[in-house]
Amino acid sequence: MMKFRFRRQGADPHRDRIRHDLFAFSKTVEHGFPSQPSALAYDPVLRVMAIGTKAGAVKLYGAPGVELTGLHKETATVTQLHFLPGQGWLLSLLDDNTLHLWEVCQKDGCSHLEETRSFGLPGRPGCSPGITRVTVVLPTSSCAVACLGTEGGAVYFLALPSLVLLEDKTLFPDEVLQSVPDEYRCGKALGPVESIQEHPHDSSRLLIGYSRGLVVLWEQSTRVVQHLFLGSQQLESLAWEQSGKSIISSHSDGGYMVWAVSGAGQKTQQPIMSTIPYGPFPCKAISKILWRTCESGNPFIIFSGGMPRASYGDRHCVSVLQGQTLATLDFTSRVIDFFTVQSPEVAEGGFENPRALVVLVEEELVAIDLQTPGWPTIPAPYLAPLHSSAITCSCHVSNVPLKLWERIISAGEQQSPRLSSAAWPIDGGKNLAQEPTQRGLLLTGHEDGTVRFWDASGVSLKPLYKLGTASIFQTDCEHNDSLTQAGEEEWPPFRKVGCFDPYSDDPRLGVQKIALCKYTAKMVVAGTAGQVLVMELSDEKSEHAVSVATVDLLQDREGFTWKGHDRLAPRNGPLPFAPGFQPSVLVQCVPPAAVTAVTLHSEWNLVAFGTSHGFGLFDYYRRNPVLARYEGGTVVLGTPLERCLGVWVLSSIGACRCTLHPNDSLAMEGPLSRVKSLKKSLRQSFRRIRKSRVSGKKRLNASSPSSKVGTEGAGTATAASRARGAGADAASPRQVQEANAQLAEQAGPPEVEMTPVQRRIEPRSADDSLSGVVRCLYFADTFLRDAAHHGPTMWAGTNSGSVFAYALEVPSQEKFSERAVEAVLGKEIQLMHRAPVVAIAVLDGRGNPLPEPYEVSRDLAKAPDMQGSHSMLISSEEQFKVFTLPKVSAKTKFKLTAHEGCRVRKVALVSLASTGSEERLENCLACLTNLGDIHIFTVPSLRPQVHYGCIRKEDISGIASCVFTKHGQGFYLISPSEFERFSLSARNVTEPLCRLEVARLQDTSCLSNSSMATPKLPQANGTHVPRSPEGQHSPTNSDRSPEEHPAAFSPSSIDSPNSSMENPLDTTGDITVEEVKDFLASSGEVERNLRNASEDEARPTGILIK
């Protein structure tokens, strides 16, 4: 009757030791494409590329698996990145006008990226601070000096790597103007320095271009102007021809000019060639131009921009011109920068022969093979634009059998045949990470109805296969991409490149839930309009009609009228399907509300699905709905197939269970679509804001120091109020988090609502809206009827804390065609606290979760203990409870919300391997809460083990997108385009380990080891900052040396630099009403914090960087 559990806290050193070996939290690697990239650089010697982002992150990429990440202490946009070729040094310029030197350091055989020095150009007395704003950075090829061009027109020289200003070398515009003829001078300033280019063969000669149009060839050593090019058109960029005999300049009118370079003391008035490629109508500026010589023929002229302003001013283009051949590469997002890949050393008189053109646009990275005719694209092994259509759900399948793996890869290859034979050109560095021990498949469902298959086994997330479901339905816009079939005569010759296409034809196509059986290659994809597609992998292409079965989830419930969207109309007749997953049956839920849960049992040929109105069970072998309702015995309803419009249509009544509460009116208004439309409108407005903010080019923040002031008020206020909660030991990681939060809040609403936020305290009532939403479905072979006989069962949990358990009569394999599956309602459990049921699992006699179908028969899992005493773990949003089976009585429970004030968002049973002993494998319950913390509990005793902060609680799309893997890793979206991978296991960690061989000219080995004044950020690879677990459960990380993971002891945490860059609602479709409430609450918090800060004005603003 009364339970007494006396538990001494931390009194068991043995258990503590085990905990250590089992649990360790670390954010290991970011998959996908960095959000909001802002700068690009390439090192031709090391063959690595660097991408800088608006959040201040710097990421280096080489060969697949070679990834280094760094994060600036300041949350400022990286505006420029420049490698010191071959040195392993990287200069970054931030929009706060500071320069930072990054160094590739070797530690324990692995390379890391660390910031070593920074430099700010001192202002000139009596001048506006804008005058010393750096516009151009050029490290000279000797790597001893960096030239800085400024807004004021002066060029400064900086010794490398010490970042010491060489004051006597500074070149002021006055000195240049002395050699400029009076008539050109005419009293006007030269304007900002737009470009500095080093002579390809003589490093002492610099080509300096000023905004007004003047280009000067400057001899550094003698301080003499060697050649003046008196251009009159506003200059955008400059490039040398490789021989050094001519230069090319691009201009703001959309034209470019070629100038001949000759001996000393010359003045050239006219270029040898001047053209406006997309003229004659007014064109936009050509922001960057490159000239690459080619052995095989005409040189390449590659430039970005220059499009006719009126007709194509909104296109984002890079043009590649070789002789008469012109390709206008048309991107769907803004071009950030581009470079060509060629051998680093070109002999005098030789040719550059660029192998590839790499273009970074705002949403993806595209490489063009310049050596294959037709210039096809080279598929990138990393930096996949996950968000080419917004991610609506994701699902992870671990231990994928080799057979299925190969079939998926082959389907993917047939889908997108490689046009280019070229290998990925950026292949520097060496991947030291071990070959992944097992194949992990990450599936992402997208807004446009596609499911993408990713190889998530290792550090780089590779696309494998893309499954489209839109072709099965009639949509407004038919799917024959009209853009790709550009007319032959069209001018300019646009060529659509890249795959980022965020615009969905029909939001109803959005994928909500995915289930895949890895042994039978059966898959279920369920979407926004109540469509449930049962698919099967086929290696052959096929043409067949898809059977359609309609399941009325409302049955005979009266008084409900669906006010949401219509169902998607399936296309009639046989449809062609490429090799890959091909649909066999379409089960259409009526009303067509979004599918909220789906599960598949391939051994029993059953698929269960649920919406906000109820759930249904479908036998896809017989293509029959299975009645799942106790009403006068067991009857299987399912009218015979009837031929209708060339489509097999099944209709049924009562083949499901309605979970709708009689008072639930909201459910009929298409609540999920309402949330979606809210999401959509939010997204649109955020896009607008973003657009207006990125309109500028280089000098986005011409008045940088003051440009932030407007938002700083909000940022400081929140930072201040949050800092209250932080201890005094909150160090720099917190600062990054704050900065991130601040960045995110820049997009927030500017108005400050002063009404205090109130929360009503009332218990949940049965007639809360959306109580009928089916939250989880589960199949298990267990004891439902009595303790002697086990059998197939199906479980469903709803939003109002109800659990329905059905006993299934599944005929044996041979009799599938003869006998139908039958279902009888066995039990109905109403959790008293009425919180939504998030997950259900059955544990066997030994407390292990039941294996997946076929896992035992294929010898991939131990057979479960079927000797009885099964138990059932029900996880609601508020508590975890273990019940006995078949008599349902509570065994243990843990009331998370009552104790911690947090609610369960995601749970998973994970098995964690110990670092201590090989055999120790513990099954645990991992839980992500609405506060972004991850808690781990033992199973079935439900004792809390450790908890870690993982995601910022304001980042609701991050929390909503989280998926756990079977072996204690996980993924969540830190931006619409990036998954952060994390690990809860001390043993199973997937993190980048790589080495870049650096041969420095000046041996200043590892600057960071010298006693630098710069305090180092405790980070391993930027966002990979293992947080030390909070609370008394934290295991001290004694197995790893502090050198290895310096941040493991950091008392506080940082989040990914990108986590807050996007508006938080932009990505995942799996957003519940609760989460929107959270979002509203968190924005409310901002208001509150503002209010608090205004109450307490004495708080210094400096607390922001506390």
Partner: protein, 381 residues
């Protein structure tokens, strides 16, 4: 089992009485409303009337709120009689079948009641005594732990005794001033912002607007966000214990008279019985040990094997007699659980049932003798 006693002016009238054997017997006798005599006598009388003198029975009655309360001493006997409005409904159960959890309000959910009995070993092992058994009393919202809390603080237990009243209050963020070694310091805090008229919080008068919330069920709220505190309160809403620092410090309890003071604000004097032992409990309160089955989940067995599971949907008098070996109170509970398809809490149901039993002299007076048996079964369902 169920009987009705009518109180008319100064005499008590027993109209009829259903014995534990489900037969109906009617007895009338008079008692002085204001001096009904001793419980012992009444008990003997009942046993005598029904010819069950050899049985140990528990007598209960339905009070004006519709709650099932026991009659087992002179005090509650007097209270039962004097508070009865014309008709007093009496329940008789065999002592060995008495499910004490049936008494009180949240009848189904209160198997383990106050933290007191849960934790205090001495108290737990002590055999049930007839006087002042905690479970004989209806738990009410009260002030608890007066002896261990600073005088400026107040610990309040809000008990929704099966009523439809909402808890009825709102909380907000705010700042409070604390005295620290460094002087006065402003710290963020959670405050009660609003009362819902007619809600439990308002009607008990235990909480007031601008009271600062310090703890929820023994867990400090410092450092927690408004949303976290909201979730904690909702998750504990079936038995919410809030420690507050009242905005109005003038009504503070004065130590010397704390025993009487503790009930000063509460609606029932039983609070004083709770306050002392509970205080010790909450002192060492560990959330993990707050294991109570107060929120037993309802399990409804499906019709998998009808031969094992009695068909309780359609209980008729014949089926009642078939299984009359089992206690009616048990069946009553089970039936309620089974009738719970609508998702209503069963304690709500029993409460409804009890209130439907509310005295209606006209009704009971016109009941034909022969129809009573059927009426009885209808009532139990």
């Amino acid at each position: 089992m169920v009987g009705e006693v009518q109180v008319m002016n100064s005499s008590l009238l027993v109209l009829y009485n259903l014995s534990y054997e489900f037969g109906a017997e009617f007895r009338r006798f008079s008692l002085d409303r204001y001096q009904p005599g001793k419980f012992e006598d009444f008990y003997k009388l009942i046993l005598h009337i029904h010819h069950i003198a050899n049985l140990e029975v528990m007598i209960g009655y339905a009070d004006v709120h519709g709650d099932l309360l026991p009659i087992n001493n002179d005090d509650n006997f007097l209270k039962a009689v004097s508070s009865a409005n014309l008709l007093l409904r009496v329940f008789i159960q065999r002592q060995d079948e008495v499910d004490y959890s049936n008494f009180g309000t949240n009848t189904l959910s209160r198997k383990k009641k106050a933290l007191v009995t849960l934790r205090n070993d001495n108290l737990r092992r002590r055999p049930h005594i007839n006087i002042s058994m905690p479970h004989d009393f209806r738990p009410v919202s009260s002030i608890i732990d007066v002896d261990i809390l600073p005088e400026t603080h107040r610990r309040v237990r809000l008990y929704r005794h099966g009523c439809e009243k909402p808890l009825g209050f709102y909380i907000r963020d705010g700042t409070s001033v604390r005295v620290t070694p460094h002087g006065l310091e402003k710290v963020p805090g959670i405050f009660i912002s609003r009362m819902v008229p007619g809600g439990l919080a308002e009607s008990t008068g235990l909480l007031a607007v601008n009271d600062e919330v310090l703890e929820v069920n023994g867990i400090e709220v410092a450092g927690k966000t408004l949303d976290q505190v909201t979730d904690m309160m909702i998750a504990n809403s079936h038995n919410l214990i809030i420690t507050v620092k009242p905005a109005n410090q003038r009504n503070n309890i004065i130590r010397s008279s704390r025993m009487s003071g503790s009930s000063g604000q509460s609606t029932d004097s039983t609070a004083s019985h709770h306050s002392l032992p509970t205080s010790h409990v909450l002192q060492n309160f560990h959330p993990d040990e707050m294991e109570s089955d107060e929120e037993a989940d309802i399990v409804i067995e499906g019709g998998l094997e009808p031969q094992h599971i009695p068909k309780l949907h359609s209980l008729t008098s014949s089926s009642l007699s078939r299984i009359n070996g089992s206690s009616l109170s048990h069946r009553l509970q089970r039936d309620l659980a089974l009738n719970n398809n609508s998702g209503r809490e069963s304690n709500g149901n029993i409460h409804k049932l009890l209130s439907s039993l509310k005295t209606d002299p006209r009704h009971s007076l016109v009941i034909p003798r022969g129809g009573i048996e059927e009426d009885g079964t209808v009532i139990t369902l």
